[in-house]
């Protein structure tokens, strides 16, 4: 397989956006890099940026490995990517409004009805409901990868409660402390206005009855959640209360939070808790994390939930395979970002192809996330392959398969020197009532072990800072 490296391309010749970094690396003392790596670790530990790993006994909180070399994207590449992202999120929102409303796309036969109505991510509670300003996905984290210097492929549209943005922001802060000289060499587009943009987005989608200042709160499952650091970080940056379910209550279809001065009405909830746990009266009755009656207040139009309830049907891996058609249907445009070619195992022909090529393909559960429940064929043992063969034949609808992409690599700095590792990118798209915003960059995730393709932080993946830099004028 031909390997594309973000710095040295395919030919080994340094690509334009990386020229200054590559030059700098030839002059820099390896000991300096080692010192900066240690410093970075110390900084992250001190600030307390941790990630809880489920099922790991020895440490409930862990640092996500951080690599000190930036991943660089040129301004012109970014503009292309940004347009594709906005197109994609616009289509996702139109799609959700449609399937919970008139279902035009189903009637037109573009997407099979049973794929939607029988999808575990489809929320019957939301059927026939409108949401404030018709925005379902306010915050999306679209995972993209590249295999050459032409195209970005979308791996996943995370339309539920995507996380990682705090790492994007903290990575930049740490980099600016560690490498002022590199920032002086590059013109790096700033990202620090993300919290400001997020706040503007959340304010814009407040229920129409609110005049003036909406009261906004960030709802977390609590400090044992893997992304709790991010929740408290964002609440702090946005200057909004960080609430748990037990801090909220609903009376006469209005949501209140319990404060030392008595109940206070809440208008917008940026919730970082899954649909299933939102309201024990509507969803899981055993959920202690949610708020009884929240869905009633939501349907009464008294509170905005961001993201809306029921977006899971749009980022599920079966729906994903229809995204190009979805974009064409609503926008009458060609998709700007490619989908990874995908076999829908629900289709018999595709299934038989997948079963006979298991050792070449990546097989994913339709509703899985975080890198759990997937098979990476080329790296799997015989036993793992047979296990998936069984799963596939017994429940083919639950799986999709994709060829193993030659994911691009990016240089990272380790004790042995500068080595290439596979990366992906998660830019964050904000959809408000009137406008769509994307801060330039995103979270680059790195598979820290050689040849590994798994970048998820729950599986030991790391992160690095992502720079969008001005193109160097030719000559």
């Amino acid at each position: 397989m031909i390997q594309f490296d973000e710095m040295s391309g395919i030919s080994g010749q340094t690509r334009a956006p990386y020229e200054r970094l590559s030059q700098w690396l030839t002059t820099v003392d390896p000991q300096l890099l080692a010192a900066r790596r240690d410093q970075a670790e110390l900084l992250f530990r001190r600030i307390g940026i941790t990630f809880a790993v489920y099922g790991s006994q020895e440490a409930t909180e862990r640092l996500i490995p951080f690599d000190i070399l930036p991943r660089i994207i040129s301004r012109s590449e970014w503009i292309m990517l940004e347009r594709g992202l906005i197109q994609r999120v616009t289509a996702l929102n139109m799609f959700l409004k449609d399937i919970y409303g008139d279902g035009e796309i189903l009637k037109a036969g573009i997407v099979p009805s049973d794929l939607i109505y029988r999808n575990p991510g489809f929320c019957t509670e939301m059927f026939g409901r409108r949401v404030p300003h018709d925005v379902f996905v306010h915050i999306a984290g679209v995972d993209v990868v590249r295999t050459d210097d032409q195209n970005f492929y979308v791996l996943e549209d995370n339309a539920r409660t995507p996380s990682g943005v705090s790492y994007m922001l903290e990575n930049r802060e740490v980099m600016m402390r560690l490498f002022p000289e590199l920032f002086a060499l590059h013109r790096v587009a700033p990202i620090e206005d993300y919290p400001n943009e997020l706040l503007a987005t959340l304010r814009s989608v407040a229920p129409p009855r609110v005049n003036g200042d909406p009261v906004i709160a960030l709802m977390t499952p609590g400090q044992y959640n893997s992304a709790f650091y991010e929740h408290s970080f964002l609440a702090d940056k946005l200057g909004i209360e960080l609430v748990e379910g037990r801090d909220l209550f609903v009376k006469d279809d209005v949501v209140f939070m319990r404060t030392t001065e008595g109940p206070r009405r809440v208008d917008v909830i940026y919730r970082r808790i899954d649909d299933d746990f939102l309201d024990p009266l509507t969803f899981r009755p055993d959920s202690a994390l949610g708020v009884a009656g929240l869905m009633g207040a939501y349907h009464a139009g008294n509170v905005t939930l961001a993201n809306a309830v029921g977006t899971g049907v749009a980022d599920d891996k079966a729906t994903y395979t229809y995204m190009p058609e979805i974009i064409r249907f609503y926008l009458n445009e060609e998709p700007l970002l490619q989908n990874v070619p995908t076999y829908r195992c629900r289709e018999p022909e595709a299934l038989s192809y997948v079963l006979s090529h298991l050792n070449e393909l990546v097989v994913k559960e339709v509703n899985g996330s975080g890198g759990y429940g997937m098979l990476v064929g080329p790296h799997a043992s015989k036993a793992q392959i047979e296990e998936f063969r069984l799963k596939l034949t017994s429940n083919p609808d639950n799986f999709i398969a994709q060829p193993t992409l030659a994911l691009s690599t990016c240089p990272i700095s380790v004790a042995q020197g500068i080595v290439p590792r596979h990366v992906d990118l998660r830019p964050f798209v904000l959809q408000g009532a009137k406008s769509t915003r994307v801060v330039p960059g995103g979270l680059t995730r790195v598979a820290m072990t050689e040849n590994s393709l798994v970048v998820n932080s729950s599986q030991g993946g790391g992160t690095k800072d992502t720079w969008v830099v001005d193109d160097i004028a030719p000559g």
Binding site: R45, R46, G48, G222, Q223, F228, S232, F233, A235, D236, E241, L242, V243, E244, R246, D247, M257, R258, T259, T260, E261
Partner: protein, 315 residues
């Protein structure tokens, strides 16, 4: 502010204060237990530390033998003692983490830093020597100074600050009162019968436990008298760990809260009642009616105030 946040801030401050008190109490007892047998009974000394830290019952249930090594281990690193220093620091951090947005960076770094250092002390425990224990106790005292200084210097003077101060003073009053409760028998005025001047070392241990050894001399300029030790810990307004001083601070912080919220409540009334009582009190009254009785009743009034604060601010 969110009621839960107020609750977390209140308890965060209590745990930090408790850890500080524990480390001072252990230090004082170590001095006392190291004296020749005629001066002190080491075993009863360790028992009294357990009593004043409120962990005597948990200790006896744990089945550990009553000796220096086991008591110190129980009060410092034991994971099965809910009130050990280790657990205080872990709980303080859990509370801090839940309300990070209400803390300043300095406070968070003090607590998180202490938590990380605590972990490395725990890892090194197998090699724990007496010297290492001293380092550890120093570290705990330093942590509470950094945390406290961080709160004082960097927090906005709003309800977050007032709740956190309330936690500190309610806990401090409780600690001082418990210490008095355990040691009251050596602080009675007509003590000649039991131990004579040998009790000097008991008195000075009490003072060390509340870091007032030097303060005593500055306040009274006379040799150590047990009733003056009691006076210092109960009625002297200039002594930061005295019950009166704690209640002055409690009343002040509750008043600031009441003013900001526009209403007085049961917590304010209770605090003022206790404060008024302390202000009118003389040591003669206290000894006449029984030091022990006074201290027990104070401890329960102070607990009652804690409950009223929870109730009034919906913790």
């Amino acid at each position: 502010m969110l009621s839960r946040t107020a609750d977390n801030l209140f308890w965060l401050a209590r745990y930090m204060e408790r850890a500080d008190f524990l480390s001072r109490a252990i230090e004082a007892s170590r001095r006392l237990a190291a004296l020749p047998k005629t001066y002190s009974n080491a075993e009863s000394e360790w028992e009294s530390v357990l009593l004043s830290s409120g962990s005597a019952q948990a200790f006896s249930q744990s089945g550990r033998p009553l000796d220096e090594e086991h008591v110190i281990e129980f009060l410092t690193f034991a994971t099965d003692n809910p009130g050990s220093i280790r657990n205080c620091i872990h709980l303080a951090r859990a509370n801090a983490r839940a309300v990070r947005t209400a803390l300043t960076i300095e406070m968070w770094e003090a607590i998180n830093g202490a938590f990380l250092e605590m972990q490395s002390f725990e890892e090194r425990r197998k090699t724990t020597s007496r010297e290492e224990l001293s380092h550890f106790l120093e570290f705990v005292k330093r942590t509470s100074l950094i945390y406290d200084g961080g709160a004082y210097r960097t927090m906005l003077r709003n309800d977050a600050y007032w709740f956190s101060r309330l936690g500190l003073f309610v806990e401090r009053a409780d600690n001082t009162a418990r210490l008095l409760d355990v040691k009251y028998h050596v602080l009675l005025p007509e003590k000649e019968v039991v131990g004579g001047s040998l009790d000097y070392f008991q008195w000075s241990a009490v003072l060390r436990a509340v870091s007032a050894h030097n303060a005593y001399h500055w306040v009274y300029r006379t040799s150590m008298k047990p009733w003056l030790v009691a006076d210092l810990l109960i009625l002297r307004p200039e002594m930061p760990r005295s019950l009166l001083s704690c209640y002055e601070s409690i009343v002040r912080n509750l008043d600031l809260l009441a003013r900001a919220h526009g209403r007085q409540g049961a917590a304010q009334r209770q605090a003022r009642k206790v404060h008024d009582h302390l202000q009118k009190l003389t040591m003669e009254n206290v000894f006449q009616n029984g030091l022990h009785e006074f201290v027990s009743s104070f401890i329960s009034e102070n607990n009652h105030l804690g409950a009223l604060i929870s109730e009034q601010y919906l913790f």
